[in-house]
Symmetry: D2
Subunit: 261 residues, 4 copies
């Protein structure tokens, strides 16, 4: 069975900027999804900010194995109730891939718990990505380095928690470096951040970039059943303790009472 | 110069429960602060939920090297604007120590980006903490294990991100285990979670527990100057790039313009 | 295509001890391999210490996707030249799973770079393994905890480097805890340590234990081509630098010379 | 009391190469130690490969809080029995800092358990180190980036285990990147690798480099007493178990017997 991917596109600059539209006439999300559908074993569809619920109904999230997020101009327009829903889906086991300017998206900042800031420059300079974790599944089939002739620069320090794997580090022509492929786990969900993809350059048409994203989908996919209630904090009564114990000391909670939140 | 610690106490059960008041007549926060003040090199004061701004004005946070947080019954009463302030202070370099039921406090959940859930049982059972990182500074002067005769049980899976160090793992009489001393870094701030401390038991009068907390204060303390704006994402203009480059391709941003959030 | 597993058995106590032979009449390695062959998608064979080259010729290692290692009484009899060969295979991409007393095997100690020590007690006490990483692939299909009624105790502190994932933590009847399922990466190879499996108890007949090992094989398997020379440190001549640079300053190395080791 | 540092210098190229002698007339180790002695709170001495026991007697290691290692041409001449001694000291709590070409030294490779390889080019090109962990103690007092106008290039993939902290990442003029400041823990010992320091350039006269090394000494220093036997694996008899248990099942070990290695 195919891995079910939902590509979330902000779809703002595609509407406003002729330069962006020239590169992505059907939207960046469409280009990304088309590449995934051609990669094999993946079934990708698209939703956008402008859709009802930003395209992320409970039913859509329940049927999404891996969510891909691209946003830039309109992070603030994403409703908090939808963000809550996305976070809950990740915690319950949905994979999540955040691309480029999604470093400042609401769901990514919520999952990281850190500022997620960086330095930047929009000069169309050369970026070269280097592999830092040999044979990592996200780098399958890729050479030790590959180049993007025109990209926006993102520079360190990148305000994210120390990752579980550093998969790529980028070199920039203007003199900066950036940890551009990083993995974390949050609840039962795998999370990957991938740096490239400024909207004024044809990055998502690049074969190596497409391969990284398809690999990341396979890596982030968790075949286990989604957790029903990923935040549950169940009480384990004394009577059912795995080892026999007896109640001692004072108690705040009456039997059967819920824990405090 | 002493490390400046602010102990934040929820101070609810001390008011409502005679059992808690019997153990902590001046409040749990007062007991914790007194132990720290006796430890040497630490100057600890206390604030509570009931204070204006919950005791956490900008000035107080700016003068706090390490914040200690204990809360249980009233997590929901902590105002979001104060939580934002605490998070910002951590990201700028303030250390933060979360005790026991603070696993579900707003600032801890925000810093972790994960559900922070667990299983629990209030039976006064025996807890034994085992050291899992030899010579870790947070375990300085402690034996390889120590016991608390009566504690609430917290059981795995604990819904937190994989830590940088696992310092302690707890054994419980009823059959559970728990990673009870964990470290992370968020922005420029060091974060430590320490499990023991249910309010109906005299845990914060225990010498080993007091030593862990004092050690954790020293570990979490960052002597560097606080970052002025921990979320800044400065633009680096082409003209000032460290290596000479020239502008290429289309631009979304006019010169001097702020980045999008 | 099936994942090719080689189960390495020390095969000493099976010969010397009637108690062990009663549980594992054909050797522990045979029981482990049989369970893997029944799991689906895995083709497991066995080799032992007593075979020429301990059963680990270059050809065998080249045809092994994942190596499983069980040893206890005869760690010192494993020849260093074979250990070198195993390490090189792991660095080039072979997965490696170390079981129980293999914590003190030569290849595990070499891969960890740490003492790998622990405390122990052979009393047939109860062990209960708790999941600490929700939906980790190594825990697929397993409940949040499972028990082994009779096991040897291993206690913390366990002298290994901080892992990338802590998958299981064990509770012991006698009062200890142990991080009993841990992952690392070394070169291109995935490494997993799994604690249970003392030879006087029927642990490898347990369904949950068998499932963990089969899951770990799938997790450790790296489908990428094995690296030809995992320790290569190639010189990149100035003339072929990716960005144009010119030679400056003094040089120790003549053109084309090998690096120093 | 001062932190006691021993700087280990290979001291080969200083004797053979006029270019190196011109920069480090008294040896690289002497320059490094002099900078540390000027930093405050550190007492540094030097030993070399040519000394009896390479200068690393048991007494010297016992009186060393942090060992700094620089080697390049003569890794193979370091005797294995001295390497064993160094490893044992690290596991027992001695800090260890490996500089530049020491990535291929015997003790570093032993502590990492991985190939420790990289790509390289000796062209005197520009290196720029970027901070990737805000307010990390090893970066205290340093700007977000600093430059070395002439350095040897080291490129990714760097064959080391995923570190606990990535403190610096380097940009190179010829197009490569490198994770140039990394931390790990092995046993009770803190380990730091720092990339710069090719012998034909004046790197160890650079103020920023000197500051990093002094900071790393303070970070690596473990004030706890050295462990007497860092590899001990003590038996815990049934009679002294922390919780009352009774012997069950078959036993391999007679009472009081040592464990197997």
């Amino acid at each position: 069975m195919s891995i079910r991917v939902t590509v979330w596109g902000e779809n703002v600059h595609e509407q406003k900027s002729a330069a962006v539209r020239a590169i992505y006439p059907d939207g960046m999300h469409t280009t990304i999804a088309a590449a995934l559908n051609a990669a094999g074993g993946i079934h990708a569809t698209t939703v956008t900010l402008q859709d009802p619920d930003h395209g992320l109904s409970d039913a859509t999230l329940a049927a999404t194995d891996v969510l891909i997020w691209w946003g830039h101009a309109a992070h603030g327009q994403v409703e908090d109730r939808i963000v809550d829903r996305v976070i809950d889906a990740v915690w319950s086991g949905m994979g999540a891939i955040f691309l480029h300017s999604a470093h400042f998206s609401k769901p990514f900042k919520r999952l990281m718990g850190s500022p997620c800031n960086l330095t930047w420059r929009e000069a169309g300079e050369r970026e070269r990505l280097w592999l830092t974790s040999r044979n990592h599944p996200i780098a399958a089939g890729l050479p030790d380095h590959f180049e993007l002739e025109n990209e926006e620069m993102y520079g360190e320090p990148f305000g994210v928690p120390e990752p579980q794997d550093t998969v790529f580090v980028s070199w920039f022509q203007g003199g900066e470096v950036f940890r551009s492929g990083l993995t974390w786990k949050r609840g039962a969900g795998n999370v990957f951040y991938f740096r490239p993809g400024h909207e004024t350059y044809p990055t998502y048409h690049d074969t190596n970039v497409q391969r990284v994203i398809a690999n990341a989908v396979r890596w982030a996919h968790n075949p286990a059943a989604r957790l029903a209630n990923p935040s549950a904090a169940p009480n384990v009564p004394v009577e059912t303790a795995l080892e026999p114990i007896t109640q001692r000391g004072a108690k705040l909670h009456a039997p059967g009472e819920e824990g405090m939140r």
